[in-house]
């Protein structure tokens, strides 16, 4: 599982690559921690290279959302493949995030 964060214009883009399963979750959570200090910048979670997400991964996304919302930031999810879209739909998570 590979994660990177870069500032593009006014938005923080986090690129996620690989399988975000229970084993990869602790490291990914640490790597995405800087997003919690987003200071009102919008966040894009780029999942176009993400193959799998477990409940632990969903919790990490929620953690980012909970930290960013009070600061006035929007969290967008981008590039979900068909399987991941199904995961977001069946858990009702589509209701929580904004999608690009």
């Amino acid at each position: 599982m590979k994660t990177s964060i870069e500032l593009q214009g006014d938005a923080l883009i986090a690129k996620l690559e690989g399988r975000l399963d229970t084993a990869a979750a602790p490291k990914t959570e640490q790597e995405l921690k800087p997003l919690h200090d987003c200071q009102g910048k919008n966040i894009v979670l780029d999942c176009s290279q993400l193959d799998y997400i477990s409940s632990s991964g969903l919790r990490i996304f929620l953690g980012v959302l909970k930290a960013a919302k009070p600061k006035g930031s929007h969290v967008y999810i981008q590039g979900l493949n068909a399987d991941l879209q199904s995961v977001f739909a069946m858990t009702g998570f589509t209701n929580l995030f904004e999608f690009k």
């Binding site: 477990s54 409940s55 969903l58 919790r59 929620l62 979900l80 068909a82 879209q85 199904s86 995961v87 739909a89 069946m90 858990t91 009702g92 998570f93 589509t94 209701n95 929580l96 904004e98 999608f99």
Partner: protein, 348 residues
Amino acid sequence: MTQLPPHSEALLTQFIEIRPQLLTLSDQVYDLLRQTFSEQGIELNTIEHRVKSVDSLKGKLERKGDKYKTLEDITDLIGLRIITFYTDDVDKVAAIVQQLFDIDWEHSVDKRKLHELTSFGYNSLHYICREKGGHQPFEIQMRTALQHVWSAIEHDIGYKGAVKLPPEYRRQFSRLAGMLELADDEFSRLRTTMVNYRRQVQALVKSGRLDEVPLSTDSFNSYLQLHPFDRLNKRIAAVNQAEVFPASLTSYLPILEHFGMESLGDVERFIADYQEAAYQLALSQLAITDLDILSESVGLQNLCFVYILKKGGNADELRFVFDTINGQQPSNALLADNIMNLAKNLKM
């Protein structure tokens, strides 16, 4: 540069010396007000605070320095302005200010009471205050947002300046001021009406007379406080011993309205009639996964799907649900197709 008379010069020097203390006091009063209004649940437009600048005081002393014996006679060295949304709140704010500070009634002014019956204009409440047992005076102005706008425009136009406005323009000014005053009162009245309406809806919801409550944002929010989807959500969550994460369900209101629901009674029957099928649909999706976190919307979402399917709806109608919740995007067609396929296996 105009040279100040010695007495005024002494006052200015003293002011420069104590200005840091005044800044601290201004911050303390501001923090106390902000905290108190927040605790009392009073929503304000804003609270402004400032300490007079050295140049501003110098200007004042140049104009009327001989009026002040000591620095304490200048009551607006520290100034705070509390701007409310509604006229009713100005009195509420004033009552709180009276509790928090000692008020110098002799120098406080209620400009709302100064107007002649036939005139309109700038209404504001000015209190000269001191901390309990303190000696440094500070001024607190209280007004509504519209009164604040009026005051700013009046200042900009120079209505109160040396040049008197011709009668026709004064009349135009008075008409506008009257309109703002009327608007202020109407906003207050509207708020009272809305609060009463919400109370009525809440009472009907509590008493279970749901057929008498029209479906609206307000009534739906009151209904949601009864957690009508909790039972279904708990059943669905039990599939994987999942945690249910809170979510706003108000975005589903347009969908329920699209289904033709007109009252909360319709929503109640919708839950009763379709909850078993909604559970089966959720079960068919979640049982083959180990997903143990769900959004609070999961029950309502599946209720909407089965409602459409039971009514013989197609993928386009399912897509409408996703379009409303996710925003329109091409992938919603795929999600709708997935639900259609699941439904075929469940023989809905």
